[in-house]
C-alpha cells in the first residue's frame, strides 16, 4: 500500500499521539461500553492509521476518509467498511504500523454502537450479529494468549425467544397426526420417530396426511402427489448458506399466523377422524376390490382415487376422545386442551393458560356446536407464543453478581431438549424437569450424556448442524442450464438430476451419522473418509468424466460388444435353423415318428426365440452413458432417511449402499457431489463459494461484504475455463478479498459442476492448482496441486478443528462468540481433542458451559455483539 507521511499537520499528529498513550494504559472488557467519545476516538484512529493512504489527495481505492464525519445515514456504508476492515485486521495493511489490540477492539465496538444507534429506525445494523461475521472475532485472541489489558467477564447469552425452525415446526405437527416407527437397531438409518420430517421428492418441506394408510391409488406419480393431502411448511427461513437459526433472525408474520390457523383445523380434524376427515367412508377398506363399483372411471388426481386401510395409524389422543364423544364434559375438554398445549409447546400449561384456552374452546362450542367449535377453539393453541417461540427468559431465578441468571426447570429442560431434538422431552427428561432436577450444570450433564448415549433418542439437531456447517443440502435447489448439465455427463432429462441431488443430501446425512456413531476424529473423518453412502444411480455422479478419446474408445468397445453379441446370436440362429431343417428332412422320411414330430415342434419354438434374439441383438441400441466412467458404488446395504411417500412409486427410496470412492479421485465430503453441486451455479462450478467455504469454515477467516459498487459478474466466455474467466477477480480492487477465496476454491476444478471427477476441461488438461494465502497459520500457507492435497493439508491443522468448534458454538448458542466466550471455546476444543475428536464430548462441553446455561436480560446491543 502506498503511504505518505506528509499530509497530516504535525500539530494534529502530536495531539492524537497523546490520546494513543492514554488508550495504551487502559484495560478492555468485551461487552462493556467503551468510555471514549466516538468522534474523538475514531478521528484519532483514522488520523494515525488511515489518512496517509486514504487522505484528501489521490486516495487509495478512491476512498478518502479525510472529511468523514460522525456516523450518519449517508456515510453508514463507509463506516461499515471501516468496521469490517479494522475488525478483521485488514487495515492498516500488514506492512504498516499497527494499532494496539485494544485500540482496534475499542474502535470496532464504538463503530458498532454508533451504527446501531444511527440505523435504529433505518433498517437497523446487525452485521456484527450475523453468523457469517462470527469469524470477525480474532481467532488468536480466542485460542491464544490474551494481552494483559484485556480482562474477560463471565459469559452468558441474552435472554430471548427463539422462533421454532420450519423443520422443527413441521416435525412437531407431524407428531400429532402420524405415528412414526420406533427406532430399530437392526435397521439404523430408516426414518423413525424423532427424526426430522425430510423434504419430499421435489425438495419441498410438507406435512402429509394419511399416507401411511394408503394401500391403493390410481395413476402415476403426479396423480398420487395431487391426490394425497399435504400442506406446505408455513414458517419461512430465508437463508440458504450457513447457520440458519439464530434467534433474532425470524418472527412469525401475519401471513404465517393465519396459515397456521388454517392448517390447525385440518390437523385437529385428522386427529379426530383420521382419513375420514379427508376421504369418503367407502374409501376406508382393506379390500379395495369390494369398492370396485365406486372406483370406476378416471379418478386420477382426485382424493377419491385413494384407498385407505382400516388399521388406525395416527396417535389416539384426548383430542380424538373429545371429538368422538357426543357429550362434552369439562374434564374431556380440559384433557384435550392440556394435551394439545403440551404437544405444541412441549410443556404443560399453567392453570391460567389452561383456563384461558378452555374458555376459548367452550365459547366456540357454544356458538358453533361441538364439532366446529372444538376445531376452531383448539386451533387457537397452535398460535400460542410458546408453540412458535421457545422462551429463554429467566423470569425466575436469582441473578449472580454479574447479572446472569441460570436457566432452570422447563426453560433449561427445553433448552437441552432443543439442543438435540425436534420432538418434546422424553419421559425421563420430563420427570427431571417436573421433579426439580433440571437446575444445575450437573443436571444438564447427566441428561445430555444420557441422550447422547441412546441411539433410540433421535437427534436431528446434530445433523442439522452439519447441514448448516457443510452446506451440502442445496444441490437440488440449484437450477441447472439443461445443456450445461448435459455436458457434465449426467442425465439432464426431466427432474432426474434434481432428484439425484435430494437423494444425495439424504445419503450424506447418513454418512455423517455413521461417522458420528464412531465418534472418533469426527471432523477429520468427515473431511477425509473414503466411504460414501450412495444410491445405485450414484455410480455416475461418483464416476469420472471421460475425455473425448476415452469416450470414443467406449463407443467403439460397446459397438464391438454389440456386434459380437449379434454375431453370436446369428450363429446360434443358424445352428437351430440347420437343426430344424434336418428334423424336417427326417420327418419327411419318417412321417409316422411321433417323437420326431414333437421334437420338431419344440425346435421350431426355439427357432422362433432365436430369431427374436438375433433380431433384437441387431437392433440393440446403446443405453450406456459413454460420457462417464462410472464408479463402483456397490457395498453393504443400508438406509437413508427420506420423505413419506410423496410421489407414488416415484417417491424417494431409502435403500443405499456403503461404498468406497475411487482411489485418488475423492477425499471426504467436500469432494462428494452433494457438496460440490451445492457450491455450483446454473452453468459451472462456483469456485468462489467453495473457496469462501474453506476460508471461513476451516481456516476461520472473515470476508467483508461485497461493496455495492462492485459488479460481481464473471465474463460470459463459453470457450474459456472458469479459472480463465475468473481473471477479473485479480483486479487490485477485488483481489484483496478474492485472494483469500479463489485459490482455495480452484483446486476443486478437478470436478465438474455436477460433481464428476475430470482430468480435462474444454479438451485440455484441467488446472487444479491453488494456494493457501495468509491463513493465519503460517504452517498451512503455500501452494497445493489439487483439492485432495488442499484438504489433506488443512485437516492436519489444529486451527481447522478450532474453527469447527467455533461454528458448533454458534449453532448451539444461537449467537456469535465474543472474546468473553474464549474460555468456553477452549474448554470445548480441549474436550473434543482429549476425547479423540469426539462430537459427544464437544457437545457435553458446550451444553454445560456458562454460555449455554446463563442468560442476561440485556438492553444494550453491544453486550450481545462484543
Amino acid at each position: 500500500m502506498r503511504r505518505s507521511f506528509n499530509r497530516w499537520p504535525v500539530l494534529v499528529i502530536a495531539f492524537w499521539c497523546g490520546i494513543f498513550s492514554v488508550a495504551n494504559a487502559e484495560t478492555y472488557t468485551p461487552g462493556q461500553p467503551v468510555s471514549h467519545d466516538f468522534g474523538g476516538f475514531a478521528k484519532a484512529f483514522l488520523a494515525d492509521y488511515c489518512l496517509d493512504c486514504h487522505g484528501e489527495t489521490s486516495p487509495e481505492g478512491d476512498l478518502s476518509l479525510n472529511d468523514l464525519g460522525s456516523v450518519d445515514e449517508i456515510n453508514a456504508s463507509t463506516w461499515r467498511n471501516i468496521w469490517a476492515q479494522v475488525t478483521l485486521g485488514e487495515m492498516p495493511p500488514k506492512d504498516a504500523e499497527q494499532p494496539e489490540v485494544i485500540r482496534r477492539l475499542q474502535l470496532s465496538d464504538l463503530i458498532v454502537g454508533e451504527l446501531t444507534r444511527v440505523m435504529r429506525d433505518r433498517g437497523g445494523f446487525q452485521a456484527h450479529l450475523d453468523p457469517n461475521k462470527g469469524n470477525f472475532v480474532d481467532h488468536e485472541l480466542l485460542f491464544g494468549q490474551l494481552p494483559a489489558e484485556i480482562q474477560l467477564a463471565p459469559t452468558s447469552s441474552p435472554a430471548r425467544i427463539w422462533r421454532v425452525t420450519p423443520q422443527e415446526h413441521i416435525t412437531r405437527l407431524n407428531e400429532l397426526i402420524n405415528t412414526e416407527p420406533a427406532f430399530d437397531p437392526n435397521k439404523p438409518g430408516v426414518r423413525t420417530r424423532g427424526d426430522v420430517v425430510p423434504t419430499n421428492h421435489g425438495g419441498e418441506l410438507k406435512l402429509y396426511f394419511g399416507t401411511d394408510r394408503i394401500i391403493q391409488w390410481q395413476g402415476g406419480t403426479v396423480a398420487y402427489a395431487t391426490s394425497v393431502k399435504s400442506v406446505p411448511v408455513v414458517l419461512s427461513s430465508a437463508r440458504s448458506h450457513g447457520l440458519e437459526n439464530y434467534p433474532y433472525f425470524y418472527t412469525v408474520n401475519s401471513a404465517e399466523a393465519t396459515q397456521i390457523m388454517g392448517v390447525a383445523g385440518d390437523i385437529i380434524r385428522y386427529m379426530a377422524e383420521g382419513p375420514l376427515s379427508i376421504a369418503e367412508a367407502y374409501q376406508i377398506t382393506d379390500d379395495p376390490k369390494s369398492i370396485a363399483d365406486k372406483m370406476k372411471g378416471d379418478l386420477r388426481g382426485l382424493p377419491t382415487s385413494l384407498v385407505y386401510s382400516t388399521k388406525v395409524a395416527r396417535p389416539l389422543t384426548p383430542v380424538s376422545d373429545l371429538m368422538a364423544n357426543d357429550v362434552v364434559t369439562e374434564a374431556g375438554l380440559r384433557a384435550a386442551v392440556d394435551y394439545l398445549f403440551e404437544a405444541l409447546t412441549f410443556r404443560p400449561p399453567s392453570k391460567p393458560e389452561s383456563d384461558a384456552y378452555l374458555a376459548i374452546v367452550q365459547q366456540a362450542i357454544d356458538k358453533l356446536g361441538k364439532e366446529e367449535g372444538a376445531v376452531l377453539g383448539l386451533s387457537s393453541i397452535f398460535l400460542d407464543r410458546d408453540a412458535l417461540f421457545r422462551p429463554e427468559l429467566v423470569e425466575q431465578g436469582q441473578a449472580d453478581s454479574y447479572g446472569r441468571v441460570m436457566l432452570q426447570d422447563w426453560e433449561l429442560g427445553m433448552a437441552v431438549n432443543h439442543a438435540l431434538r425436534y420432538i418434546k422431552p422424553d419421559e425421563t427428561l420430563r420427570e427431571a424437569i417436573v421433579e426439580g432436577r433440571m437446575r444445575t450444570k450437573a443436571d444438564v450433564e447427566r441428561e445430555v450424556k444420557r441422550m447422547l448415549a441412546d441411539d433410540s433418542i433421535r437427534k436431528p439437531r446434530v445433523l442439522r448442524f452439519f447441514r448448516d456447517y457443510f452446506d451440502y443440502d442445496l444441490g437440488g435447489y440449484i437450477c441447472k442450464d439443461e445443456k450445461a448439465l448435459g455436458d457434465t455427463g449426467v442425465s439432464n432429462r426431466g427432474q432426474s438430476h434434481y432428484r439425484a441431488m435430494f437423494d444425495s443430501a439424504a445419503s450424506t446425512d447418513r454418512l455423517i451419522e455413521l461417522v458420528l456413531q464412531e465418534d472418533r476424529d469426527v471432523l477429520k473423518e468427515l473431511l477425509t473418509t473414503d466411504r460414501v453412502v450412495a444410491t445405485k444411480g450414484d455410480g455416475i455422479y461418483f464416476g469420472s468424466k471421460r475425455s473425448e478419446e476415452e469416450r470414443a474408445a467406449s463407443v467403439a468397445a460397446e459397438k464391438e460388444a454389440l456386434a459380437a453379441t449379434a454375431k453370436k446370436r446369428e450363429a446360434e440362429l443358424e445352428v437351430i435353423e440347420d437343426e430344424v431343417a434336418e428334423l424336417e428332412e427326417m420327418l419327411k422320411a419318417s412321417p409316422e415318428e411321433k417323437k420326431l414330430e414333437a421334437k420338431l415342434t419344440a425346435k421350431k419354438k426355439a427357432l422362433a426365440t432365436a430369431r427374436k434374439r438375433s433380431t433384437a441383438a441387431k437392433k440393440r441400441r446403446s443405453n450406456v452413458n459413454h460420457n462417464v466412467n462410472p464408479a463402483d458404488v456397490s457395498g453393504t446395504k443400508m438406509f437413508a432417511r427420506v420423505s413419506r411417500r410423496s410421489f407414488g412409486n416415484g417417491s424417494m427410496k431409502p435403500e443405499r449402499f456403503l461404498a468406497t470412492v475411487p482411489e485418488g479421485q475423492r477425499l471426504g465430503i467436500l469432494t462428494h457431489p452433494s457438496w460440490l453441486v451445492s457450491h455450483s451455479d446454473a452453468m459451472d462450478n462456483h469456485a468462489i463459494h467453495r473457496g469462501r467455504w474453506i476460508y471461513e469454515r476451516l481456516l476461520g477467516g472473515g470476508i467483508p461484504d461485497v461493496p455495492i459498487t462492485v459488479d460481481a459478474m464473471l465474463p460470459d466466455e463459453p470457450k474459456k475455463t472458469l479459472r480463465e474467466r475468473m481473471r477479473v477477480t485479480r483486479e487490485d480492487y477485488c483481489w484483496t478479498c478474492h485472494k483469500k477465496m479463489d485459490p482455495l476454491g480452484l483446486p476443486f476444478e478437478m470436478y465438474n459442476h455436477a460433481g464428476l471427477y475430470r482430468q480435462f476441461e474444454l479438451d485440455k488438461p484441467v488446472d487444479t492448482t491453488g494456494e493457501i494465502i495468509n491463513s493465519g497459520d503460517p504452517e498451512l500457507d503455500g501452494k497445493v496441486a489439487n483439492a485432495i492435497e488442499l484438504i489433506e493439508k488443512i485437516v492436519a491443522s489444529e486451527r481447522a478443528e478450532q474453527v469447527f468448534v467455533r461454528h458448533a458454538f454458534r449453532f448451539w448458542m444461537g449467537r456469535n462468540e465474543t472474546l468473553n466466550d474464549g474460555p468456553v471455546l477452549q474448554d470445548a476444543y480441549r474436550a473434543y481433542q482429549e476425547n479423540g475428536g469426539s462430537m459427544k464430548a464437544l457437545l457435553v462441553s458446550l451444553l454445560t458451559s456458562d454460555a449455554f446455561l446463563y442468560r442476561t436480560r440485556v438492553t444494550a446491543v453491544l453486550a450481545d455483539g462484543g
Partner: protein, 439 residues
C-alpha cells in the same frame, strides 16, 4: 422494521384475511375519487396449456389489428371485446420447466415443478405491492374437481410472496364468503364469522399478554407477531364497519354454495367472490387458478365427462372438450369485464383501470418445453397497454419480460423480473419491458 404496507401483504399472503390500523376503510376501498387512480390486475391461469391455435384468428401469421379478424370458436365469447384484447404469441418459458406445469415458476418466471418450493416471489404478489393500496391487496382463488376443493380447500401451487413462501389459494366459496363478507352475512356463516372473530380477538389478547415481560431486545420482533393479529382483527372490524358499501357488491349465497351439483357451481361461485372483491375495492390483484396449477381438474358441469390428466394429453385445437373449457373460460372473462364495467370509476369504469392476463401455467400444452407461451391481455390498465391487436414475437423473450412490462405499467421501474443477467444472457435477447405491448 414494522411496515404497514408489508403487513398488508403479509396477511394477503396468508389467507387474505384481514388488516388493521389507522387506514380508513373508505380510503382503502378503491375510492374512485382518490388522487391515485385505482388499478387492478387479474391473472387467469388455465392449466394443461394454452394452444395458440385456440386463440389466434385463422390465417393470422404476423402482428396486426384484430379489427377485421374473427376470433376462433373457443374464445368467440370475446368477439364483442376484441378492441380490448391483445393476443401475444411467441413468448417463451423454457427456463421454467413447464412440462406438467411450471407451478410457481409460471408466475415467477423461474424453474418450477411438482414438489419444488418457490424460489422467489411471483409477479401477482409483486404487483399487489405496487398497485394502489387496497384492504386486502392480493386474493388467490382456485378451481378444481369438487372432491379436491372439498378435501383441500386451500392449496398453494401458483403464487408466492418470496423464496419458500407459498401463498394459499381459496377453493371453498363458503370459507371465502365468510372471510370477505362474514360481517354482512346471516345464518351459519354469520355464526362462524362471530365465533372466529371472538377466537382471533382472544388470541391477540393472549399473545399481547405474553409479550409484556419480554426483554427490550425481543420486543420488536415479538411485537410484529402481535401486530399481525391486530391487523387481522383490525381489517375484519373495518370490513364489518364498511358493511353498507360491501353489501352493494357481495354475491348472494345460494344453493350452489352449500349443495353444488357440479364442480362448476363452485367455480362460478368462486369467480363471483373474486369479482366482488375487485368491484368492492377490497383487493387490487386477483389470481385465478383454473385447475389450481396442477395437471388435473374437472368440468363435468360443462358436460365434459373426462377429467384430470387425460385432458392434457389431447390436442386442444378443434377438440370439442377443450372448446367447451375454453369457452367457459371466455365467458368467465366476459363476466369479469361486464361486472367491472358496471362500476363507475373516475371518468369511466373500473374496467378502464384493469388488466386481465389470461394464460396457462403449462405454456402451450401439457407436455411442453415452454418454447411458446401464448398470453391474452384484456383491458389496458388506464391506457398503459395496447389493445385490439395480435402480436407475434420471435420466441426470444421470456414471460419474465411480460411481467416486467406489468410492473412498469403499475409504476415500478425495473428492467427484469426474477432473471439475473447471467440467465438473461441465455434466455432473453433484450432487456426491459415488451415494447410490443406497452403504449
Amino acid at each position: 422494521m414494522l411496515n404497514r404496507r408489508r403487513l398488508l401483504q403479509g396477511i394477503a399472503a396468508g389467507t387474505g384475511a384481514a388488516l388493521g390500523g389507522s387506514l380508513s376503510p373508505e380510503r382503502l376501498l378503491a375510492a374512485p375519487t382518490g388522487s391515485t387512480t385505482p388499478k387492478r390486475i387479474v391473472f387467469f391461469m388455465q392449466n394443461q396449456g394454452f394452444d395458440p391455435k385456440t386463440c389466434i384468428p385463422e390465417g393470422m401469421k404476423s402482428s396486426g389489428s384484430l379489427a377485421k379478424a374473427k376470433l376462433p370458436e373457443p374464445i368467440s365469447a370475446l368477439e364483442p371485446y376484441k378492441e380490448r384484447l391483445h393476443i401475444i404469441n411467441g413468448l417463451h418459458g423454457i427456463h421454467t420447466s413447464p412440462s406438467h406445469s411450471a407451478f410457481f415458476g409460471a408466475l415467477g418466471g423461474y424453474r418450477g415443478s411438482d414438489g419444488v418450493p418457490p424460489s422467489a416471489s411471483t409477479i401477482d404478489y409483486e404487483l399487489s405491492k405496487v398497485l394502489p393500496e387496497t384492504l386486502l391487496p392480493h386474493l388467490c382463488i382456485g378451481m378444481d374437481s369438487i372432491e379436491n376443493m372439498k378435501t383441500k380447500p386451500t392449496i398453494a401451487t401458483l403464487s408466492a410472496s418470496g423464496a419458500g413462501q407459498p401463498i394459499f389459494m381459496h377453493s371453498n366459496p363458503n370459507h371465502l364468503y365468510q372471510m370477505l363478507y362474514g360481517g354482512i352475512s346471516s345464518g351459519d356463516i354469520r355464526l362462524q364469522h362471530e365465533a372466529r372473530s371472538s377466537v382471533l380477538n382472544q388470541i391477540e389478547q393472549l399473545a399481547a399478554t405474553k409479550g409484556r415481560l419480554l426483554p427490550d431486545t425481543e420486543q420488536q420482533r415479538y411485537g410484529q407477531y402481535v401486530q399481525g393479529f391486530k391487523d387481522v382483527n383490525g381489517l375484519r372490524d373495518r370490513l364489518d364497519t364498511a358493511s353498507d358499501h360491501l353489501r352493494k357488491f357481495a354475491p348472494v349465497v345460494d344453493e350452489r354454495y352449500s349443495n353444488p351439483e357440479f364442480e362448476t357451481d363452485w367455480h362460478d361461485a368462486m369467480l363471483d367472490l373474486g369479482i366482488s372483491s375487485l368491484t368492492a375495492g377490497i383487493t387490487n390483484t386477483l389470481t385465478i387458478g383454473s385447475g389450481r396449477g396442477e395437471i388435473f381438474g374437472a368440468w363435468k358441469g360443462l358436460g365434459v365427462e373426462q377429467q384430470g390428466h387425460n385432458l392434457g394429453h389431447m390436442n386442444q385445437h378443434g377438440n370439442p372438450i377443450w372448446i367447451k373449457i375454453r369457452q367457459y373460460n371466455s365467458r368467465m372473462l366476459v363476466r369479469i369485464m361486464e361486472k367491472l364495467e358496471s362500476v363507475p370509476e373516475g371518468n369511466g369504469t373500473m374496467m378502464d383501470n384493469t388488466l386481465i392476463v389470461y394464460t396457462s401455467n403449462n405454456a402451450d400444452k401439457q407436455h411442453t418445453n415452454g418454447a411458446n407461451w401464448p398470453v391474452m391481455l384484456l383491458g389496458n390498465l388506464d391506457g398503459a397497454f395496447k389493445t385490439g391487436c395480435f402480436t407475434q414475437l420471435n420466441g426470444k423473450r421470456p414471460i419474465n419480460a411480460l411481467y416486467t412490462s406489468l410492473l412498469r405499467a403499475a409504476g415500478h421501474n425495473c428492467d427484469r423480473f426474477n432473471m439475473d443477467d447471467k440467465m438473461a444472457k441465455k434466455f432473453d435477447d433484450s432487456t426491459g419491458p415488451l415494447q410490443e405491448v406497452l403504449v
